[in-house]
Amino acid sequence: ETSACLITKTDTNPFFVKMKEGASEAAAANGIELSTFAGKYDGDVETQVAAVETCIASGAKGILITPTDSRALVPVVTQAREAGALVIALDTQFEPADAADATFATDNFKAGVLIGQWAKAKMGDDAANAKIALLDLNASEISVDYQRDNGFLQGFGIDIKDPTDIGDEDDPRIVGNDVTNGSPDGGRTAMENLLQVDPDINLVYTINEPAAAGAYEALKSFGKEEGVLIVSVDGGCPGVQDIAGGVIGATSMQFPLLMASKGIEAIKAFAETGEKPQNSEGLDFFNTGVELITDEPVDGIPSITSAEGLKKCWG
């Protein structure tokens, strides 16, 4: 029987919980024995390394991994490939990307760009006087964090300087950055802090929807829930509902379930035929797609409504 491993960043983020669900279903359908692992926190390299080693030891045919550190995990997955396992990166690419046999990912930068473009179009002429708050993840600036943040800024038409650095921009429209730990309580406090810096903020980027929900609460308590745009990335079901509820203006939806099921299918194919999956054209990964979700579509940017999104959320 073919065995496979799924190694996610954490088990506390619903995104990865969804991914695990998808993988488990696909594995059951394809007759693959799946073991799942997760780090204890975002950035827990040690646990992921140990997990890969355990997979090698147990003779897994394939490893699906969301690298918690795109550089740090390269050596161990190289070992895994040498041991004959198919390694597929999910959601986050390795650096270099070809450290894995394939990558099934959302382009996080692209996800950012989409909401940036949407926000710019939505604001129209006001975009020139936008006052932007950026609610990031945490002090250690992991790749998802800077890719989404910089993608959003680029989409909005701001010079991002170093695309791997948060907060090096000098555009006067940016009020400031603060960290949220990706949770609503962090989102709320960060939003309050930035509102204290400049009460006229009218555009808020958030690292994910829980942070966005917190930011919304802060705005509400300041009496500013109207007239401030909140954009986010992820596309979790509660997040899509928040679009419908008018909390969030737009979000970029990812497809963790799809990533996982595709990954399992690829492992099955590899086990049976030895064939490795191909990247999407022009990209160094297989794009599982990003979908902009908003109930206020703008011209030129394809999007779907929250009602449609709810059917697909994290599918």
């Binding site: 506390t12 309050e192 929900a213 509400k220």
Partner: protein, 360 residues
């Protein structure tokens, strides 16, 4: 034997002169020479003043650095609101630390109980009031579980709560499926969960009920600790458990009540956090344990137990809040905020130590 009745001489021969002995006690008045010494002396006699002074100094300092924005009634009330949840946790933590314990599970209990309340009220259709009561009772239960291990199995509090932290954390992930409960769902299904999020204006300030709850919790616990027999027992246990035992305190029962009460306060913080955060997220307050301990130690409560006023923890929480807000408004990077908080802890406690020196 003689005609004037004399008391029979008592004791050994050399003790006969004791009746004439002097009753003076050695006592010397001493002037405090320098201003510094005099300040140290005043603070030594009123140790709770220390965090208050640190608070005032940091307020002034950030007022000067960050300007009027910082020093507005609104911003100050905002800080109060921002620290309210960690403040309530710090109150629970203080209770434990005064008994010479430590509780690494406060934040896990808090989040677990907010998830319990949310699941019951929003998804299971239990009336909010009952869901909250169940959550608060769960807090008592979780605290009592800690207390049981500590008093009956005689495990050190650090180890017990290190263990239960993992246990509660796993339970909360399992119950929530790692998903948050949305604010709007709460609004429609069980708005009462958000009770402590309500606020009103007072001058330029915006007072949230969660801030009032925090102050209330501190006042009530202060009263219990200082004005009731139970409170005296809590201090006595932290001071010297064995002596407390021998001098007639039911130490196990008292400790159990302390952990249960702390668990209750954590659950209360869980309820208040729903109002404050607006939604229920299993990811929230992951570092709440350390934050609460930080507030307590900055507030001058001894980790060795038995010393310090619970009010110190309130000021400790406010000091951290003021620092965070002040640094933020002065445009300091998150990175250097972490750095500054590290020094704050060390310096605040160093000042406290200096004041408590015997030579005061």
């Amino acid at each position: 034997m003689s005609d004037t009745p004399q008391p029979a001489p008592k004791g050994q021969e050399f003790e006969q002169t004791l009746d004439q002995s002097d009753t003076k006690v050695a006592s010397f008045e001493r002037k405090h020479h320098t201003l510094l010494e005099r300040i140290q002396h005043v603070l030594h006699n009123n140790p709770t003043l220390v965090p208050v002074i640190v608070l005032v100094i940091s307020l002034i300092a950030f007022g000067l650095i960050a300007g009027g924005k910082f020093f507005s009634a609104f911003n100050l009330s905002l800080i109060l609101q921002q620290v309210s949840i960690i403040g309530i946790l710090a109150a629970a933590q203080s209770l434990i630390i005064i008994t010479a314990g430590i509780d690494l599970s406060v934040a896990a209990i808090m989040v677990l109980m907010s998830v319990v309340m949310g699941n019951l009220a929003v998804f299971a259709g239990v009336p909010s009031g009952i869901a909250i009561l169940i959550g608060l009772a769960g807090g008592v239960g979780a605290g009592a579980m800690n207390g049981w291990f500590i008093t009956k199995v005689k495990l050190p509090p650090f180890i017990t709560t290190l263990g239960t932290w993992s246990i509660f954390y796993a339970l909360l992930l399992w119950l929530s499926g790692a998903q948050s409960i949305r604010g709007q769902d709460i609004d429609t299904e069980a708005p009462f969960l958000k009770f402590f999020g309500a606020s009103f204006n007072l001058g330029g300030a915006r007072i949230t009920l969660s801030a009032i709850l925090m102050i209330l919790v501190f006042v009530v616990l202060w009263y219990m600790l200082n004005k009731t027999a139970w409170g005296r027992h809590v201090y006595a246990i932290g001071d010297d458990k064995e002596a407390a035992d021998l001098s007639g305190i039911r130490t196990d029962r008292t400790l159990l009540s302390v952990y249960g009460l702390a668990g209750f306060v954590c659950a209360l913080a869980g309820w208040a956090s729903i109002g404050r955060v607006g939604s229920i997220s299993p990811q929230s307050f992951y570092e709440g344990n350390l934050d609460s301990i930080t507030a307590v130690v900055i507030g001058g409560i001894s980790l060795f137990g038995g010393r310090g006023s619970i009010m110190g923890a309130l000021f400790g929480a406010l000091i951290v809040g003021v620092f965070r807000s002040g640094l933020r408004l002065s445009g300091v990077d998150v990175l250097w905020q972490v750095f500054a908080i590290g020094w704050l802890i060390i310096i605040a406690v160093a000042i406290d130590q200096w004041i408590r020196r015997v030579s005061a």
